[in-house]
């Protein structure tokens, strides 16, 4: 398969998961740069051009709250999961687990079929 096509499919698959990862990571208050680093440390690299617009979108949907604060002599915007965001995160996690389980079922059935 064309590596570019695979990369596009991979990015498409990750796109939806990133929302989940951002919401999950923001159960603890963080600002953009540290959030990006946290995600990268867990194998979820996200560039700033994707992260900041995503944070704004989630905030405008009421899933995150934010505030500007000074830390280490520099003003930073800290984000935190809102109570509505916590409910949505639980729902999304349930959905994600359900998808994961369905895919496993499909794979298991096909594996039995080829035995």
């Amino acid at each position: 398969m064309n590596p570019e096509s695979f990369e596009n499919l991979r990015l498409e698959l990750r796109r939806g998961c990133l929302v989940l990862a951002v919401l999950a990571a923001l159960r603890r208050e963080q600002y953009g740069y540290t959030l990006r680093k946290t995600l990268a440390e867990h194998g979820l690299e996200i560039d700033e051009g994707t992260l900041y617009p995503l944070l704004r979108r989630l905030e405008s949907q009421g899933l995150l709250s934010s505030e500007w604060r000074e830390e280490e002599k520099r003003k930073k915007r800290f984000y935190l999961l809102s109570s509505e965001g916590a409910i949505v995160l639980d729902q999304l996690l349930a959905e994600w687990r359900s998808i994961d389980s369905s895919i496993h079922q499909v794979l298991k059935e096909q594996a039995h079929g080829t035995d």
Partner: protein, 332 residues
């Protein structure tokens, strides 16, 4: 850190006005945090080329700013394929024929060519391009505006919601020849054959008792040609009635008769076929003027007839190529 300020300024220009300062403050904090971390790792200040590389990695300011903009489009993904389809139809049915007629006029009409190239060929090409571009610009512009309005009105007219599977077009078999069209073709060719045989078998054609048309002696060649052609077309139409599917043989015969018809028609346009017209009660000098005018117009329309002939041949060739690329129907 002038580079960073320049980068932020470039991004800021393209940001939505209300969020501009907020986004830039956050982006600035992110860039400086990254630089500070890198400097802590290296134990020294970053050199300007290193800062430049870091900014370049973040992407073009326009792209960075675009990600903060709401997704906007003139013609949305729903209407875009229709827009492209209409543009292709316009190009095929209007702009390309326009170009072909111009080429035809320049090739076959000395009067038109002289008018256009009175200063130079270069000027003629320039004038043609200006006229062609102007026409294309207006047509494409009007279509684009029309579709953009349709896109904006979509929420109100609910174009994509108001449809029913039962109103979709019937399944079309590209190989099928409708029996109705074969019947019409057969009738028209038989009538044409009979009309030619009864009324046009000589160079003197009478229309009622008041009009007599005198044709040039070359007409007798055309008469035989058209008679044969009408007969051939009638036989082909009868065959299509019995076997209503295109086959390679049917398509090849159709190409042959259409090519013969196109050649005959083009030659007729150039033949100065009208020798005279006599209408009772009309002075001969006036009817002669009418005959000359008709001959002149036929001559002038010669390039257009070539263009039409070429289009007909192209349709026939396309049909044969399609039959070659697709399997013939079993029922043929």
């Amino acid at each position: 850190m002038e580079l960073i300020e320049r980068y932020l300024q470039a991004v800021k220009f393209w940001l939505p006005r209300r969020q501009r300062n907020d986004i830039i403050a956050e982006l600035s904090a992110d860039i400086y945090a990254q630089i500070e971390e890198r400097e802590a790792e290296l134990g020294r200040k970053l050199a300007e080329p290193e800062v430049e590389a870091l900014l370049k990695q973040r992407g073009h300011p326009l792209l960075v700013a675009n990600r903060f903009q709401p997704q906007g489009y003139l013609i949305g993904p729903g209407f875009f394929p229709v827009y492209c389809f209409v543009l292709k139809i316009v190009a095929l049915c209007y702009l390309i024929p326009w170009l072909l007629v111009w080429i035809g006029l320049m090739t076959f009409s000395p009067v038109y060519r002289a008018e256009q190239t009175h200063s130079s060929w270069f000027a003629a090409l320039g004038s043609m391009w200006a006229s062609f571009f102007g026409t294309a610009f207006v047509v494409v512009g009007m279509l684009t505006i029309g579709f953009a309005i349709l896109e904006r009105m979509q929420d109100r007219i609910h174009f994509f919601d108001r449809w029913s599977p039962s109103k979709l077009p019937l399944v079309r078999d590209p190989h099928l020849i409708p029996r109705a069209s074969s019947s019409v073709e057969l009738a028209v060719n038989l009538l044409f054959f009979a009309w030619l045989a009864v009324y046009c078998h000589s160079t003197e054609v009478l229309i009622g008792s008041t009009v007599r048309i005198s044709l040039d002696s070359v007409w007798l060649w055309f008469f035989s040609g058209y008679l044969l052609l009408a007969l051939g077309n009638a036989v082909l139409a009868a065959n299509k009635l019995m076997h209503p599917f295109w086959t390679k043989r049917q398509a090849a015969w159709r190409l042959l008769t259409d090519a013969a018809g196109a050649v005959l028609f083009c030659l007729l346009m150039k033949a100065n076929i009208l020798a005279g017209i006599a209408i009772s009660g009309v002075p001969p000098e006036k009817t002669l003027t009418i005959a000359h005018a008709i001959n002149h117009w036929m001559d002038t329309l010669f390039p257009a007839s070539i263009a039409v002939g070429l289009v007909i041949l192209a349709v026939n060739i396309y049909r044969i190529l399609r039959l070659q690329s697709e399997p013939e129907p079993l029922s043929a």
